[in-house]
């Protein structure tokens, strides 16, 4: 559906380099990456709002690289809603109809459906200034979808919302995607959104795409150090590989498989590292003694740092486990993790 080939952009101090991307029809695709990675820029390039230096963009079979934005049939929804402040909710939503030849009864049906799905019936005559954040974002979504775009670009649409609104709009997004043929391309850095909405994703850094793949794959098998770090692989160590084992300073870690390279990185998600007071006697697990160095309160859970030899492991445990294990700084503990929880690259 969306095909991007060798796209390069230079715009003041920002740039995009060698972007290649294929997104299937009606896919929910997510772009992740730190601030300044170029995600918004890529969206605006697809929408035709900033000029390319080189490269091609196709929607289906049609090349749109040189088409003006109004002729592309690509909708865009921004984090700050960008509602037209001088128009009512209804006028905002139907704005695009001025420029599209859509059958009137069809348009009315569509409007009713969008108002219903997005729960906007009661707000039709309000001005944006009198709406809450969640309502504004729902109006922005309805406005973009009203003209039935082939592609909908969403630039962190949920990040400015309160947590309860966020869930509500996220649910609406999911329903809208499932009930339409539009391809959704969304920028976010919220992993909950990624996991609940998308099938595939790309991670961007510094104007380049670092990895493209299924969500599962990106989280479990990051292909670079950056991606591992970004998706929260907090235990990331340089390792030398010997047969099925990885040597991380003085620790020998069983991988279960034999890596291709002789050295590289291993990554373990913090929630896969189990802390115990006694040594487990399971042969499946890597088991190391260590002592607690730091305990960080993260709200619902705690991040516990355990020093084993020269290596510091980070584990995520619940508050009840923390109390049960009576963990304090300097407590002597054992950490264990399965060989299958280790990702080597």
């Amino acid at each position: 559906m969306i095909t991007i080939r060798e796209l390069n952009i230079d715009l003041q101090e920002f740039h995009l380099r060698n972007i290649n991307l294929d997104i299937a029809e009606n896919e929910f695709f997510i772009l992740m990456g730190p601030t300044g990675a170029g995600k918004t820029m890529l969206l605006e390039a697809i929408a035709g709002l900033i000029p390319l230096m080189s490269g091609k963009i196709l929607i289906g079979e049609r090349e749109i690289t040189k088409l003006s934005p109004e002729k592309r049939g690509i909708g865009i929804v921004y984090q700050d809603y960008a509602l037209f402040p001088h128009l009512t909710v209804l006028e905002n939503i139907t704005y695009g109809l001025h420029f599209h030849r859509i059958d009137k009864t069809h348009a009315e049906k569509r409007l009713d459906r969008l108002l219903e799905v997005l729960n906007l019936f009661g707000l039709k005559q309000r001005f944006p200034v009198n709406l809450s954040g969640g309502e504004k974002q729902r109006v922005a979504l309805a406005r973009a979808l009203m003209v039935e775009p082939k592609v909908l670009l969403l630039d962190e649409p949920l990040s400015a919302l309160d947590p309860n609104f966020r869930e509500e709009v996220r649910g609406a997004l999911k329903r809208l995607h499932q009930s339409s043929t539009t391809t959704f391309l969304m920028v976010t850095h919220d992993f909950a959104e990624v996991l609940s909405l998308a099938g595939r994703a790309a991670v961007m850094n510094n104007g380049r795409i670092e990895q493209i793949g299924k969500i599962e794959e990106i989280f479990k098998k990051p292909r670079s150090r950056f991606v591992a770090d970004f998706v929260g692989m907090k235990n990331l160590f340089r390792a030398e590989f010997r047969e099925t084992r990885a040597l991380v300073s003085n620790l020998e870690i069983e991988l279960g498989i034999e890596p291709i390279n002789s050295h590289g990185y291993i990554a373990i998600r913090p929630e896969d590292i189990v802390i115990s007071r006694e040594a487990f006697s399971s042969s499946m697990r890597n088991l190391f003694p260590g002592s607690v160095t730091t305990i960080i309160d993260q709200g619902f859970c705690y991040e516990v740092h355990v020093q084993s030899g020269e290596v510091s492991f980070k584990s995520l445990i619940t508050k009840s486990s923390l109390i049960e294990l009576e963990l304090r700084e300097t407590t002597e503990v054992f950490i264990s993790f399965k060989a299958t929880a280790i990702h080597s690259f």
Partner: protein, 260 residues
Amino acid sequence: MKREPFFWITISCGLVIMAFILLPLIQMMSAPSVGMLKETIHDKDVLRSIRLSIYTAGLAALISFVLGTPLAYLLARSAFRGKRLVESIIDLPIAIPHPVVGIAILSVAGKNHWIGQILSELGIRIMGSVTGIVTVLTFVGLPFYLNATKTGFEVISPRLEKVSRSLGASMSSTFFRITFPLAWRSMLIGLIMCCARAISEFGAVVIVAYHPMIAPVMIYERFEAYGLKYSQPVAVWLVSISLILFLLLRILTLHKVKEE
């Protein structure tokens, strides 16, 4: 709560400034008797000069609007090399002494300059004509319109325009449906400021066109020929009429805002 001395300093400075601006104006406005004011407004020359002042200032604002709006939009929306230079050039008329403006305009409009030659072939006269007055007033008023309008455009998020484009609106549709309705108030304020600047211009006009006489020139002439007492009534009328016009515009615009 005990106020700090700083608070009292701010208040007293404010009062001094208010008095400094208002006292002379009030004194002038209340000096002429009602009879004198009546007599003055029946003077055809006075009436003509005030009318000419308003007419030429209005025309200057109109020209600024037509020529200045696209440039203001360009400056608000795009970054290009030399933008700062363009902005400084726009501000130049504010910094130049007024008689110099008149002299500068005459030096290109004169017979020795090719522009002047083209103009004279077209039958356009700058020296001593309404055209000349409007030219000068546009020169001094334009920066005020441009700056106010540019600021007006700048505060509108470019994302609104981007969304409008993505919904199928062309650049011009976007301008007329989104940008203009959101910026017209700043544009109107720009027009008022441009007009106010133009109506108060004396130094540049007196060089280019002593006749036909705009109100400030007439006030100067009366002051020179007959003294303070005879120039005051004309001044009162000019100030009153401009104040009424600006107040009207302000009320009209504020009224619209409330409706929205």
